[in-house]
């Protein structure tokens, strides 16, 4: 459920990659969307729950449009949502936004720097653009 207890109109799902900064950026971008940009309209699902085949998590991604955020070319979020029969509205790659800040230090997989947080906000804006077509504003 969304923050206000209503059924969310879009699910935003990050890869949460634990090894590199890209994974943390994807995760923080999701929180930026669910908590700040589209509170009550966007929510997330634990990707690990989908990996284990949890019935409720699968049902959620099958019934709600999903935006996936992936940090590396393995595309774990996209592939796992797809394998769960999820409705993917768009798969976004973190790297595509990071490219706009070539040479910047984005922080680490533990803590983001200011350029890292800037990428988080840009990614959230990308998600919001996609979500506009999916949510009732």
């Amino acid at each position: 459920m969304g923050n206000n207890g209503q059924k969310p109109e879009v699910l935003v799902i990050p890869c949460s990659g634990v090894g590199k900064v890209h994974g943390l950026i994807s995760r923080e971008a999701v929180y930026h969307v669910t908590d700040k940009v589209l509170p009550g309209q966007a929510d997330t699902v634990c990707l690990a729950l989908l990996v284990t085949g949890d019935a409720e998590a699968r049902q959620r991604v099958q019934e709600t449009p999903c935006v996936t955020l992936d940090g590396c070319p393995k595309l774990c979020a996209y592939k796992n949502v797809e394998l769960s029969g999820g409705k993917i509205a768009k798969g976004i790659r973190v790297y595509d936004v990071m490219k706009r800040h070539r040479g910047a230090n984005f922080g680490t997989a533990t803590a983001l720097s200011e350029p890292g947080w800037a990428v988080v906000e840009e990614l959230a804006a990308e998600v919001a653009k996609v979500a506009k077509n999916e949510v009732t504003v």
């Binding site: 943390l24 923080e28 284990t52």
Partner: protein, 235 residues
């Protein structure tokens, strides 16, 4: 057959929906970066499904600890389903004695409550790493996963950042020393001789200190902690 110790694998749940998921992730990062960088390696849990055969060999190539945010045990169940049996299963809510009250999902909102929770969980994970390392694993299982999976291993196992200490004229590396100093400084430990007892007590959790070396370590730790705090105040 001689026993060799393989790197210990640590797999965190992703736990995006709950603060305990973020605590699990941050605690694992702390162990990988600071507390046990030489002994540990990780893999993203979702890679078991999205990846290839190499990734699925992870738990058979390493004694593996899973760290879950809640009692759904996704990391444990996922690892066992796709990779192999785990050596230890830790759950954040068990370690904290219940839900992580006052903690946050986003690291942007992280405060003292989050920091304390992460430390508690990280220390528990580090203790489990030591336990598995002491047990040892068969030499044939100690192959380097990173070289055999085309770099599928996450690049978390780098050396501890600057954990060197000058003890009686010799240089000693202490895993996670900067993190320990940061943590104690945030907790309000003032630099100076009065900090010696606390510094010694915490550091010896992560680094063996013989009784006859205590005085030398005490002096070295006080000096290094003072320098750390001075650097912090200047920056």
């Amino acid at each position: 057959m001689a026993e060799a110790v393989s790197k210990v694998g640590i797999i965190s749940c992703s736990g995006e929906e709950i603060p305990e998921g973020t605590i699990a992730r941050q605690a694992v990062r702390r162990v990988l970066e600071g507390l046990r960088p030489q002994q540990t390696v990780t893999l993203c849990l979702p890679l078991f499904l999205a990846g290839e055969a190499g990734e699925r060999r992870f738990a058979s190539a390493h004694p593996t600890i899973t760290v879950d945010g809640c009692d759904k045990l996704c990391a444990k169940r996922g690892t066992e389903k796709y990779s192999g049996a785990v050596s230890a299963s830790l759950v954040v809510t068990d370690i904290l004695g219940g839900p992580a009250h006052g903690c946050h999902r986003s690291t942007r909102n992280s405060d003292t409550a989050d920091e304390q929770a992460v430390w508690l969980v990280a220390e528990r994970v580090a203790a489990e790493v030591d336990h598995l390392s002491d047990q040892g694993t068969p030499a044939e299982a100690s192959e380097d996963f990173a070289t055999n999976t085309g770099g599928a291993r996450c690049s978390c196992g780098g050396p501890s950042p600057g954990g060197k200490l000058a003890v009686n004229g010799r240089s000693v590396t202490i895993d996670g020393l900067p993190l320990i100093f940061q943590h104690l400084q945030r907790k309000g430990l003032q630099p100076g001789n009065q900090s010696a007892g606390t510094l010694l007590e915490i550091v010896r959790v992560y680094h063996p200190i013989e009784p006859h070396e205590e005085a030398e370590y005490r002096e070295a730790l006080v000096a290094a902690y003072c320098a750390h705090c001075e650097r912090g105040s200047k920056s």
